[in-house]
Symmetry: C3
Amino acid sequence: MTKTTPGNFFEDFRLGQKIAHATPRTVTAGDVALYNALFGSRFAVQSSEAFAQKIGYPRSPVDDLLVFHIVFGKTVPDISLNAVANLGYADCRFLSTVYPGDTLTATSQVSGLKENSNRKTGIVYLRSIGFNQDGDKVLEYVRWVMVRKRDESAAAPPEHVPTLPAAVGADTLGGACPTISGRHYDNVLAGSPHRWSDYAVGEQIDHMDGMTVEEAEHQMATRLYQNTARVHFNLFAQSKDRFGRRLIYGGHVISLARALSFNGLANAFHIAAINGGRHVAPLFAGCTVFAWSQVLAKAETPARPDVGALRLRTVATKDKPCADFPLKDGEPDDPAVILDLDYWVLMPR
Amino acid sequence: MTKTTPGNFFEDFRLGQKIAHATPRTVTAGDVALYNALFGSRFAVQSSEAFAQKIGYPRSPVDDLLVFHIVFGKTVPDISLNAVANLGYADCRFLSTVYPGDTLTATSQVSGLKENSNRKTGIVYLRSIGFNQDGDKVLEYVRWVMVRKRDESAAAPPEHVPTLPAAVGADTLGGACPTISGRHYDNVLAGSPHRWSDYAVGEQIDHMDGMTVEEAEHQMATRLYQNTARVHFNLFAQSKDRFGRRLIYGGHVISLARALSFNGLANAFHIAAINGGRHVAPLFAGCTVFAWSQVLAKAETPARPDVGALRLRTVATKDKPCADFPLKDGEPDDPAVILDLDYWVLMPR
Amino acid sequence: MTKTTPGNFFEDFRLGQKIAHATPRTVTAGDVALYNALFGSRFAVQSSEAFAQKIGYPRSPVDDLLVFHIVFGKTVPDISLNAVANLGYADCRFLSTVYPGDTLTATSQVSGLKENSNRKTGIVYLRSIGFNQDGDKVLEYVRWVMVRKRDESAAAPPEHVPTLPAAVGADTLGGACPTISGRHYDNVLAGSPHRWSDYAVGEQIDHMDGMTVEEAEHQMATRLYQNTARVHFNLFAQSKDRFGRRLIYGGHVISLARALSFNGLANAFHIAAINGGRHVAPLFAGCTVFAWSQVLAKAETPARPDVGALRLRTVATKDKPCADFPLKDGEPDDPAVILDLDYWVLMPR
């Protein structure tokens, strides 16, 4: 019996199938330092034990996106080793705070299957859940991904496309954020005087700064998450592919955009949910990433007078500053756009 | 009201102005590991808990330059986002030992202002102080930096250039170094038999080794310090600039020179003060850094029979070994020189 | 007296000479995170505190190869600064588990000397031992290395070539592995259903995946180990050398091959010994590393009913997938081979 896993193909998935993913992972202060070195994040709650404790955290939490990437990474060997493209995310909710020392595991369940008309590929929908060592859910999300078939003539499973919410309900946000003391939240140390009430729906923010990505950086990031997708690491194989080079993990762009968004959203200390996201175009090493955001909605969370929620759309581009707020499906349509992300953040009131 | 900070321009500074900088930062063992991976530092006190404890430290301290870079990094968003050049340092003193787990914050006060005759830029002098979570000063230094004006026609502030000491007084050194036991300091483990008394004023030391710098390395280092200066990260913008590429943070050169100086100065375990420093020329990725040092002075610190101080001049070059001890303003003048640093180190007696 | 160390040359070594190496090194969670980011290791015992504790470790141990590289690194300034080539390893045994927080030191003894016929170089055989802060041996190995002579006319020492075992005896394995509970070892979390009894002598496994190496990555790795060999870091000097570029530390290839071997050997959670290894050809940045393994032998360790040993031959290549199991001294001889490693791993029974 062969010992090597080639990964699953489209015809290997069954509707309702449950998958327990391998490689439990203890998150440490070392992982946090690497994440900081790779993205230059500056949100005070994640940067400072003293700041976090002053507002009510027992200690500094792990960055939400680092948690996301680690849980996502676990699913790759079972789900997307033979993926053509990661198509989208939905209904992503952060449910418990993760601290250094916590050990993360992940499971997924197949919630939809749809063969493509070319019969070479199909779309797999999965609901994935990340757990900590106590069995608490820390993260839950749906993603759909286009996966190659092993055998084009293999029979297609019954088609089922799940119904997904357009956005996470604001009333469900905040499970991964303890009650904080806005009075002890120091705007000066946090880097901005602008709290939740200062933002208006429709407001657009150019995050101004740009960050160039190197091959060593995205490879180190993606390996840190134990994400094994071949397209990110194997120049030998990729040089024969249509792009001729390594593709950067889409999550790398999300983390860069989040770090850049500090300039304008410094008090958006917690990502509470991701409503949806599209990797509109691939990113390659040597390109410089820029970003801008728009406030899509504001919500008071009734049970939480300490924080307010902002629904944001953050758009990232490559090799193009965002002073004119470019969009992919806008007028005009801008080919520099690489990411279009819709998510909820929490801010102190 | 715009939420994005474009950074301060020359006309925004006022003499005596106090600035509390954002983003408190807890230093961890993860940061220390990254610093080691980036520079290959080998000083035994910072490398080994067991060695540090044996000579009298409660545990291994954080490298002095990592402390400097983190404090410096905090000042960048307020001070030097619109800087043309970092011109110099003076009166830099390390005042308390920093250990992993400590949280650093920083403040600055404007101590001098001088508009340049072209009216496009001006020089800002600042005294910056780093604090730990208990409010102890860990570091204090003056730097001056050339900052662009937003508006050339803006009125110049009254000119004031502060008086700065040529060197930190040897009698004030040692605040960040506990009393050590020279008897328990193991020369073999430390890597050199040469202690303070073995060095002579005027002695020149070629550190021999060279270290090539990659873009990913200096970007990761500089982000680790949360230093946001655009010239280090944004190839898109820099490619339109006079150099056509990213500039490496000057502090990266200081850390490389310090790591290289181990070969010849292995027992110089603590930088107690920086008297002055000039970044004589820029460094770019792909270049190889070399360094040499000269002993400028020796001092016994009366209250400290455990250690002696050496005043060193360390010169770094790019793409040129230092066997002939090159200088920038020497005879001949050497264009390979990139750094000229004057500082005090402590060595066991 | 010169303070700089140029390193030892062949004529500086004496048979039986004992060398205590400098720079004790405390291994931290930060080092572990960097190692993970550089190699993407996925073995569950090293990745998860919870997994390690469940099977009987007090906590997650440090990766065996990270221990090897750190001990090896300490020997470089005394042994191989003037080396032409690292020729081989033998009799390498992992003797005690290393945990984050442990401090490693190293000593070596010269066990053989043989001048080459060209009189320009000679081969030095050394037995090196790594210790923890309690004085326990954590690692012991022999390596032989070709070292330049300072002076070709220097007298050659008496020739002595030590007798080395072809392989470490299986009955001596396991000192660095506590008794584990196979019943609590979760195959699903570990990533493979295949335990010791499922492997057959002669079985060949293509590890399939490839990993491209960047200059920044191997430099960071090698500095993390405080390995100062000049060929890895100094492009200025190397550009004048026969290869024209930096050579990647051979140990980097071993770690890449080990990480790739997870796909097929996921339950080989501990390297217990290295019988021998040859760096058949150099690796340069930009190349993609692949690997395959063959089971050379199986051994039950009588005193250890919890684990079984597999003797593996792992071969790594550059820019060539290993589906046809290439060998250097095979038929045909494959120039893509860069590493041929013979070692013992432990697996749960």
